[in-house]
C-alpha cells in the first residue's frame, strides 16, 4: 500500500516540459512564434501569429531579432519548431507564387495602408513613393510613405523594395541598403539600367503608340511592345496632350 502511494506522489512531482508555458501563450495569441528559415536571401528570422506573418529580418542572432521585435512590435516572442509547411510557404511567397497572410497589428493605420498598398505592386514592377501616397488617399504624405516603408517590419515579404524615387535614384532600403534593393529588383526581373536611364532624362511615363495608353515604365502592359513603338513623357499633362490615357492597371494618374 505504502509503495503505491509513494509512487503516485512522485508522479505528481513531474515538471511541464521546457517551453510549455510559452507554447500555450503563443497558442492563446499572447505571443508570436518565430523560427529561422533558409531562403534565397540567406537565413531570415520570421515571426508569425495566428493572423499571419508579423515580422521578418536578416538579424545576426536570435537574441537580436527577439529584442528588435519586442521593441518595435510590442508583443512577446517565442521560438518554436516551425509548422512543417511554413518553409515551403515562405519560399513560395518570396518567389511570387503565393501570398501569405500578414499580421500588421501594432502599426499605425497609415503604415498599414501603405504596406497593404505596397503588397499590390506586382513582382518585376516598381512604383514611385508619390503613387503610394496618392493611392491611399494622402497625396501630400510622400515623406511619411517613405518613413512607413523604411520601418516595414516584414521586408522582402511586403515588397517595399518595389517603391522607388521618381527621379530614378533607387533610394535607401531598410533590408540592407541601396545595393540590396538593386539586387532584389534585378532578381525580380526589373530592367534597372533602362529604368534609371529614363528617369535621368526626366521621363516618368512610357506610352505605346498603338494603344495610346501611358504607363509606369515597368508596367506589365508595355512588355510586348517593341522599343521603337514606345513614346516617353515627362508628366501627365504632356501625355494627355499627346492623346494618351493613363493605364487602368498601373494607374500612373487618376483616370
Amino acid at each position: 500500500m505504502a509503495t503505491v502511494m509513494i509512487d503516485l506522489k512522485r508522479l505528481g512531482d513531474v515538471k511541464a516540459p521546457a517551453g510549455f508555458a510559452e507554447r500555450v501563450l503563443a497558442q492563446a495569441g499572447m505571443a508570436d512564434s518565430y523560427a529561422v528559415f533558409e531562403t534565397v536571401l540567406g537565413p531570415v528570422y520570421v515571426a508569425w501569429s495566428r493572423l499571419g506573418v508579423s515580422a521578418a529580418m536578416r538579424s545576426k542572432s536570435a537574441a537580436e531579432f527577439q529584442e528588435w521585435f519586442e521593441r518595435e512590435i510590442g508583443r512577446r516572442l517565442v521560438r518554436v519548431d516551425p509548422p512543417a509547411d511554413l518553409a515551403g510557404k515562405i519560399s513560395d511567397q518570396l518567389s511570387g507564387k503565393r501570398r501569405l497572410r500578414f499580421d500588421l497589428r501594432g502599426l499605425t493605420p497609415f503604415s498599414q495602408a501603405v504596406l497593404e498598398k505596397t503588397l499590390q505592386i506586382p513582382r518585376g514592377q516598381v512604383r514611385p513613393y508619390g503613387w503610394v501616397a496618392r493611392e491611399i488617399g494622402h497625396p501630400a504624405a510622400v515623406r511619411a510613405v517613405g518613413t512607413a516603408l523604411a520601418n516595414n517590419p516584414i521586408p522582402y515579404f511586403i515588397p517595399c523594395h518595389r517603391v522607388v524615387r521618381s527621379d530614378g535614384v533607387i533610394g535607401n532600403y531598410g533590408g540592407g541598403g541601396p545595393e540590396a534593393k538593386k539586387n532584389i529588383l534585378s532578381l525580380e526581373g526589373v530592367q534597372l539600367a533602362r529604368l534609371q536611364r529614363l528617369a535621368q532624362s526626366g521621363y516618368r511615363y512610357e506610352g505605346v503608340k498603338s494603344t495610346k495608353i501611358f504607363c509606369f515604365p515597368t508596367c506589365y502592359h508595355g512588355r510586348h511592345a517593341r522599343e521603337e513603338n514606345f513614346v516617353f513623357f515627362h508628366d501627365e499633362t504632356e501625355a494627355r496632350a499627346a492623346g494618351y490615357r493613363p493605364c487602368k492597371d498601373c494607374r500612373p494618374a487618376v483616370a
Binding site: M1, L8, K9, L11, G12, P17, V24, A28, M30
Partner: protein
C-alpha cells in the same frame, strides 16, 4: 482584455507543472499529456475572456483547472478509443541529460503508463486524490461525483495498482 492576459499568464506559469503532471497520470504518455495540458489552458483562456472580472477574482483556480483538465481528458477518450499502453516503456524517452535523470524519467513514464491502464473512472479518482493530493471533497467537485463514489473508486483503483505492483516486484 489586458487584465485577462496577465491573469492568464500567471495562471499558466503557476499551474503548468501541476496540470502537466495530472495530464501525464491520466493519459500515460508525454505526448498526449502535452496535448491535454495545452487544451486545458486554452479552454481556460477562452473562458476567462468571457468571465466578468468579479468572477475571475473569486475563481478557485486550482479546482477549476482540474475540472477542465478532466473534461478535456474525457472528451478525448470519447473521441478516440483509449489506446492500450504497453507496460515496458512504450515511448522511448529522448535520452538527454545525466544518466540519473534519464533513468528517473523512464521510471516515471513507466509509472504513468501503469496508472493509465486503470479503468477511466478509477484512474481519475486515484490520480486526483493521490497524485494531485486533492481532498475528497475537491475530487468530488472536479469529477462531478458524490464523495462516496469517489472514495469507493479510489479504493478499487489502489487495489488494482497494488496487485500489479506486487507482480512487478517479483521480477
Amino acid at each position: 482584455m489586458e487584465g485577462t492576459e496577465r491573469v492568464f499568464e500567471r495562471l499558466v506559469r503557476d499551474n503548468q507543472d501541476r496540470i502537466f503532471a495530472l495530464s501525464l497520470a491520466l493519459t500515460g504518455n508525454r505526448h498526449d499529456a502535452e496535448e491535454v495540458a495545452q487544451d486545458t489552458f486554452l479552454r481556460a483562456y477562452r473562458a476567462l475572456a468571457d468571465y466578468a472580472p468579479e468572477r475571475v477574482r473569486e475563481l478557485k483556480q486550482r479546482a477549476w483547472l482540474h475540472r477542465i483538465a478532466v473534461n478535456v481528458f474525457r472528451n478525448r477518450v470519447r473521441g478516440v478509443r483509449p489506446r492500450l499502453v504497453e507496460l515496458n516503456g512504450s515511448e522511448p524517452s529522448p535520452a538527454s541529460g545525466p544518466e540519473e535523470d534519464v533513468l528517473r524519467r523512464a521510471e516515471i513514464d513507466e509509472l504513468a503508463a501503469r496508472v493509465a491502464c486503470l479503468p477511466a473512472r478509477y484512474r481519475e479518482a486515484v490520480v486526483l486524490r493521490h497524485v494531485q493530493e486533492l481532498s475528497y471533497a475537491e475530487v468530488a467537485e472536479a469529477l462531478g461525483q458524490p464523495v462516496g463514489t469517489v472514495k469507493a473508486n479510489v479504493h478499487r483503483g489502489l487495489k488494482i495498482l497494488r496487485g500489479e505492483n506486487h507482480g512487478d516486484g517479483d521480477d
